[in-house]
């Protein structure tokens, strides 16, 4: 077992390392969009030199200055020149390999992810992300707290009342919400409850708003975010519980004198839980990427919003994108790790990595 855990953990770190390295290299080679403002840009390039992603050299040779000014010197596309009349300051990107090494060193030793270039110019990228995490975390945790009991409840109800009217209605609910894209559901909710009925806010209130307004503001995004997952959990719970309810050991439980509720709670439920645990952990990753869409529609200043802002075409903010992607990747991979481990722990029938 210990070996299994070790191998899985190691494997997750390897995947994380591969994905992030690949992302860094690909982003590093993509067109750069340094800050638009002249002064800010100089600060940013100085920062790049400090972080080891660019080299700075001063050109005083008149011929070379002339060549650079006429763009004949064959400088790198991402090079930047500060013209001081009698001398030129040339910032050039260092080779990918070297900047990759510097990047790893910066991240591992100082946790330095570079500064933002477009979203909030020259502000530490990680601190921008860190500011946004609480709202996203709040949203996702509330959604989690809402959807697990709801999904279980409806699923159990459907399984116990199989083939009745209630079950059929639940089946329709499952079909509808599993099929509809999140943004369609969210738009419908926004239209009905926000604009037509006017019960709830049509956009997320500012951070300064406290109290009831702020709590009410979570209703729509949580519903929009989780109904898809509720439908998934309901379907799984119903399928698992239906299968268990028809099994022999449940018949035995009834024959030995347990009432139906007793047999369901003590025997059926526990056995049907096994495949649900991994589903729930996986679904958290799904919620997190779904919240990107919800945050965009409802104007929630979370991590998804910051990622989409940083990804705006022709206004790309590399460092911020990189750190946000790292955040999403880490959460996704560790969720998978937990799933792998619980598979082994929860269900004794599955012994992954065991010797045959």
């Amino acid at each position: 077992m210990a070996k299994y855990i070790l191998v899985r953990t190691l494997w997750v770190f390897i995947i994380l390392f591969v994905i992030l390295s690949m992302t860094f290299v690909l982003l590093n080679l993509a067109p750069q969009y340094p800050p638009a403002d002249e002064d800010q840009r100089e600060i940013w390039y100085a920062q790049q030199v400090r972080d080891g992603f660019m080299s700075r050299r001063v050109v005083t040779d008149p011929d070379e200055m002339e060549a650079i000014r006429n763009e004949e010197a064959g400088l790198h596309d991402n090079a930047f020149v500060v013209d001081d009349d009698d001398r030129l300051e040339v910032f050039e990107p260092v080779p990918v390999g070297q900047s990759y090494r510097n990047w790893i060193t910066n991240v591992l030793t100082e946790f330095n992810w570079g500064t933002s270039t477009r979203v909030r110019v020259n502000v530490d990228a990680f601190s921008i992300l860190a500011n946004r995490i609480p709202v996203t975390a709040q949203l996702n945790l509330i959604a989690l707290a809402f959807y697990i009991p709801t999904g279980f409840g409806i699923g159990i109800l459907a399984a116990l009342k199989k083939n009745s009217l209630v079950d059929n209605l639940i089946q329709i609910f499952i079909m509808v919400f599993l099929s509809l894209p999140l943004f369609v559901v969210m738009t419908f909710f926004l239209f009905i409850f926000g604009y037509q009925l006017g019960w709830l806010d049509t956009a997320f209130p500012a951070a300064t708003v406290r109290g009831t307004t702020r709590y009410l503001a979570f209703i729509l995004p949580v519903l929009g975010l989780s109904l898809n997952t509720v439908a998934g959990l309901t379907r799984l719970t119903r399928a698992e519980l239906t299968e268990v309810l028809t099994s022999d050991f449940l018949l035995l439980a009834r024959t030995k004198g347990l009432t139906r509720p007793q047999s369901v709670v003590r025997h059926a439920m526990r056995n049907s839980m096994v495949p649900l645990v991994p589903f729930i952990i996986f679904s958290f990753v799904g919620l997190l990427s779904g919240s990107v869409v919800i945050e965009q529609i409802y104007g929630i200043p979370g991590t998804g919003r910051v990622l989409l802002d940083a990804m705006t075409p022709n206004n790309y903010d590399h460092n911020l994108v990189l750190v946000t992607l790292a955040f999403y990747t880490v959460i996704g991979l560790f969720a998978i790790l937990i799933v792998d481990l619980t598979y082994g722990l929860v269900d004794p029938r599955i012994r992954m990595g065991a010797k045959k």
């Binding site: 079909m175 099929s179 399928a239 869409v293 965009q296 990804m311 075409p313 996704g332 991979l333």
Partner: protein
């Protein structure tokens, strides 16, 4: 038991000679089944047809797909031009419109009425609307409280001069100057609604200097509520000035002076009376009074309005009649007018008009002025012509005319836009199907790529097994662990927002599920006897894979992969909705299919910001895509269940 024992006894007594063959001369064949044989597909079909809901879903799905192919072909509309005149019309559906539902009217509520429009019934409509198109009997007026200082529709009420912060003094000055002449005996009257705090004063000041050399003097000071007044020149005399003034010009300035901060005085009106007349020479209240400006720094106080009343109207407005009726386009060039008339010569009665349409001549054109055409002609009437300009030997001039807009746009009558029109004036119905076609084609394209890659990868992995399989499985694990946001970010960084970045995002890990299904199928079939037999006969790997194993598993693989298409549409519309996929103005040519840059996600992204005033832009496409997704999923599930009976019950 006893019977059986007897039976055996009886049988034992039969001699050999008594036995004979029943069918000595006949050959014995296998007996035919009483029931008809049921093939694999027929069996699947039976199971498929058993579920009524799935059949209905399938029919709806294929109707949608057919419509998405036919509608864009049948409506050869130009979706690149802008038609602002018919922009954002609400839906209008034949037959249903008679029930007062989707009838092409737009409901307005609580719009401030322009007071000049109030008719003999006492009902008015807001500015910018034409009474002709207000649905009969739908117009209601109510009054509501307003505090606007800029709208002259807001009448009456008080104007409040108030103190801000820690300030105890602020002043307000009138927007115009008045001439005060001693002989007119001018009296300035204030109607003060309330002064709540004792010790608060309202001081009135007038400027007895001139514009360049201002000399403000306090003329009066009031501290009680009600109508108060003072005679200007009496007050002036009391000031004991060095020189006599018989005439001066000044705005009226009044200030509030209080002992404590945050005090208000509410004023009803300011009036000037002359010569003891009953009627005021000048009176300002409500909106007029609200035009007075604060003359002290804004930090010291404010001048605001309260309890004003305005009339607001609620009504249904026939936007179709307005958009499609008689419209004046402003100047309309002579060449375009001639072209329009020439094309519609038969419809527009041009009796008695003798014009050479190919030759634009100013004198000739005079005979058109004042002409009224029939209702079916694109031009309603021509009422004027501008003076001509000569340039390079050509004459240019413009007609002033009115168009029958429906006819002008090529409709016989006011058209029905079933889903309404977009901001650019395009028929949303046609556009929705066009968008659906784009989404479906992208779904098909990406689905095909994913299924192809998945089958090839899964075949190799499943067929060879062992080390190859383990290595390939590890690779799929890494690929499928990459979040789609990351792929999207990288694709956007390299390619910008485009179809190709969309395709990359959707195919990078999209094939993994197909490949795992294929791999399972290969594990299931590769050990079978017929494969072994073929291998013994010397068949190569490729033959075993593609001629023996794959054909057996392909049914399961394809039916499991059908669900990929709605998933792709799902993802495509989400990404386009966020603005990173397809977008307006892009066109693509894929295998001869011309794709417009409009997908369902793009339509919904357009409608998102107009959810308040133009919900139809969102509702129609959202409902269509919802139906598509639901029916596609039901169809996919039904197909999978039909071909794989063991899956039944789990859905």
């Amino acid at each position: 038991m006893i019977d059986k024992e007897q039976d055996t006894k009886i049988q034992q007594d039969i001699s050999h000679s008594e036995f004979e063959f029943v069918q000595r001369d006949e050959k014995i064949f296998d007996k035919k089944f009483e029931t008809k044989p049921v093939g694999y597909f027929k069996d699947a079909m039976t199971r498929f047809a058993k579920n009524r809901a799935n059949v209905v879903a399938t029919i709806i799905l294929f109707t949608l797909i057919t419509s998405s192919i036919l509608v864009p072909v049948l409506t050869t509309k130009n979706f690149t031009s802008q038609e602002p005149a018919v922009a954002a019309l609400p839906p209008r559906v034949p037959i249903v419109e008679h029930f007062g539902f989707v009838d092409g009217t737009r409901s307005y509520s609580d719009r401030t009425v322009d007071l000049e429009t109030i008719d003999e019934d006492g009902l008015g409509i807001p500015a910018g609307f034409d009474r002709e198109f207000v649905a009969e009997g739908s117009l209601t007026n109510t009054t509501s409280v307003c505090t606007s200082r800029t709208s002259d529709s807001c009448v009456g009420g008080q104007n409040i001069i108030g103190l801000r912060g820690q300030s105890t003094q602020t002043s307000v000055v009138s927007d115009e100057s008045f001439d005060f002449v001693r002989d007119d005996q001018p009296v300035i009257e204030f109607d003060i609604e309330n002064i709540l705090i004792d010790g608060t004063l309202l001081n009135v000041e007038l400027n007895i200097g001139d514009d360049t050399d201002e000399d403000w003097r306090q003329f009066a000071s009031f501290d009680e509520e009600g109508v108060v007044s003072f005679e200007v020149f009496e007050a002036l005399d009391e000031l004991d000035l060095d020189e006599d003034i018989d005439e001066f010009s000044s705005p009226i300035q009044f200030e509030i002076v209080a002992e404590i901060p945050r005090v208000n005085i509410a004023l009803n009106s300011v009036s000037i009376y002359q010569n003891g007349e009953e009627e005021p020479f000048y009176s300002a209240s409500g909106f007029d009074l609200a035009q007075y400006q604060l003359s002290a720094p804004a930090s010291t106080g404010n001048f605001r309005r309260a309890n004003g009343e305005q009339i607001v109207a609620s009504f249904d407005y026939d936007v179709y009649a307005e958009a499609m009726g008689v419209r004046d386009p402003g100047a309309y060039s002579a060449r375009d007018t001639y072209q329009l008339l020439e094309e519609n010569q038969d419809i527009c009665s041009l009796d008695g008009v003798d014009i050479d349409f190919d030759n634009v001549d100013y004198d000739d054109a005079q005979q058109l002025i004042g002409m009224e055409f029939s209702d079916t002609c694109p031009i309603n009437n021509i009422y004027d012509v501008s003076s001509p300009i000569e340039r390079d030997g050509e004459t240019y001039f413009n007609f002033r005319l009115e168009l029958n807009y429906a006819q002008y746009m090529g409709y016989d009558d006011i058209p029905y836009f079933l889903f309404g029109t977009t901001r650019s004036g395009h028929d949303l119905f046609a556009l929705t199907w066009l968008a659906l076609r784009t989404s479906l084609l992208v779904g098909l394209l990406v689905g095909t790529i994913n299924i192809t890659i998945g089958i090839i990868y899964g075949s190799i992995s499943g067929y060879y097994g062992g080390k190859v399989d383990i290595g390939m499985e590890r690779f799929t694990e890494v690929i499928s662990r990459i979040p789609w946001l990351l792929t999207l970010a990288l694709a956007t960084a390299w390619l910008g927002a485009s179809l190709w970045s969309l395709v990359i995002v959707l195919t990078l890990s999209g094939w993994v599920s197909v490949s795992s299904t294929t791999r399972t199928q290969f594990y299931r079939y590769k050990g079978r006897e017929y494969v072994l037999a073929s291998r013994t006969l010397g068949a190569k790997d490729s033959r075993l894979i593609f001629r023996h194993i794959l054909p057996n598993g392909i049914g399961t693989i394809i039916t499991a992969s059908i669900l990929m298409i709605p998933q792709v549409i799902f993802a495509e519309s989400t990404i386009s909705f966020l603005g990173f996929g397809i977008g307006h103005g892009q066109t693509f040519n894929i295998f001869g299919f011309e794709l417009s840059g409009v997908s369902i996600g793009v339509l919904l992204a357009d409608g998102r910001s107009e959810l308040v005033y133009n919900p139809h832009l969102t509702i129609a496409p959202a409902i269509i895509v919802s139906i598509l997704m639901i029916t596609f999923n039901m169809f996919g599930n039904a197909l999978r269940d039909a071909f794989n009976p063991t899956l039944r019950g789990s859905e």
